[in-house]
Symmetry: C2
Subunit: 213 residues, 2 copies
């Protein structure tokens, strides 16, 4: 029953992109950062609901598959759900649509109370004001003995890392230089000494780094 | 006839270490950062003058060997030679001893004039006050058609990268988090778009990333 985190970052360590415009609300950088991940068969199935078998297999897909496997509950920051985008709209249901890829209880960290949001596919968003430790306690209680995933964003994952609460961290490093955004690695000097670190590259060029206790 | 650069950096992008003390003038971090590189057979031969055949072979050694191959002249910053350490001592001959591993002309960038320093093994240090472009011109003139290496330190390499003067950059990324020091990647947003970038890992865990025009 491990606490896991998983992020895509650039070679210079940025986990967010900054080139969004009104005309291109995702920006161009985000697509480059996650291109290999969204090309996987697992992403096609789980996120795009594409059951034709399309998508890449191999190293990148193995990590994508592991990302979804054996997770019993998820914790995410308010921004990853979408609360920062329309903070004053109580009807805003976040970025994830009617078929979020989680299919498990998801705890969204926010100081603003909201009723839970339960989807038909098993995803249930619970909005809680909690410390990392308290959020993990809530998640463990409903995870059925499976892993907890701290899904993001980068600041949330870093907060859990700094608190020593992550058992396994996987980063997929895309060899591009974004130059600005939120750096995953800030204030984590020496983090590696508490883990066994392994590295592997995929034919796509993505560098997979895994920290395991 | 390419201009090449090559550095060891941490997973969080630092090319220098900061834990030096009077008792431990190298610090502990430097050893961790370069451990795989200094373990190679090429490093044993070229830098330690160990001709017993000791040292690792394989991926890390292949990059180490390529580092020394086909280089006709080197450019380095004043700090890499050692001028920042004893700036007022005109007799200080730098870090590199009587058998520097270069065996070629080396241009040391400094605003303080010094006579050239010629070693028996073919290494000749020339101290020049020059822009990156001027330094390259000087180096090309004596490189005999071979490659120019911009040896370091990190700030010097970054200056040449920013000026668009590096044809091939190799970084060996050690999967440790140093948290502070000089970041190679600062102010290099989009650098990758001018290169083909390849990635490879070694059994040591080192991630080798190469930018080629």
């Amino acid at each position: 029953m491990a606490v896991r985190a998983d992020l895509n970052i650039s070679l210079d360590g940025f986990a967010t992109t900054t080139d969004q415009t009104p005309e291109n609300p995702m920006g161009l950088d985000w697509g480059r950062l996650v291109e290999a991940y969204v090309s996987t068969r697992t992403f096609h199935e789980r996120v795009l609901h594409d059951t034709t078998g399309a998508g890449t297999t191999g190293v990148d897909d193995d990590y994508a598959e592991a990302y979804f496997a054996e997770v019993g509950a998820e914790i995410m920051g308010a921004g990853m759900f979408g609360l920062h985008t329309f903070p004053d709209d109580p009807d805003w249901r976040g970025w994830w649509g009617d078929e979020p890829p989680f299919r498990i209880p998801v705890f969204v960290l926010t100081h603003t109370a909201r009723p839970s949001l339960e989807m038909e596919n098993g995803t249930a968003f619970h909005f809680i004001s909690a410390s990392p430790e308290e959020a993990l306690e809530r998640a463990h209680a409903v995870a059925g003995g499976k892993d907890i995933r701290v899904g993001g964003g980068a600041s949330t994952v870093r907060e859990f890392l700094k608190a020593g609460l992550i058992d396994q961290l996987h980063v997929g490093i895309t060899p591009i230089l974004l130059g600005r955004g939120i750096r995953l690695w800030d204030e984590l000097r020496g983090l590696d000494t508490g883990y066994t670190v392994t590295t592997e590259t995929a034919p796509s060029g993505i560098i997979h780094v895994t920290f395991r206790r």
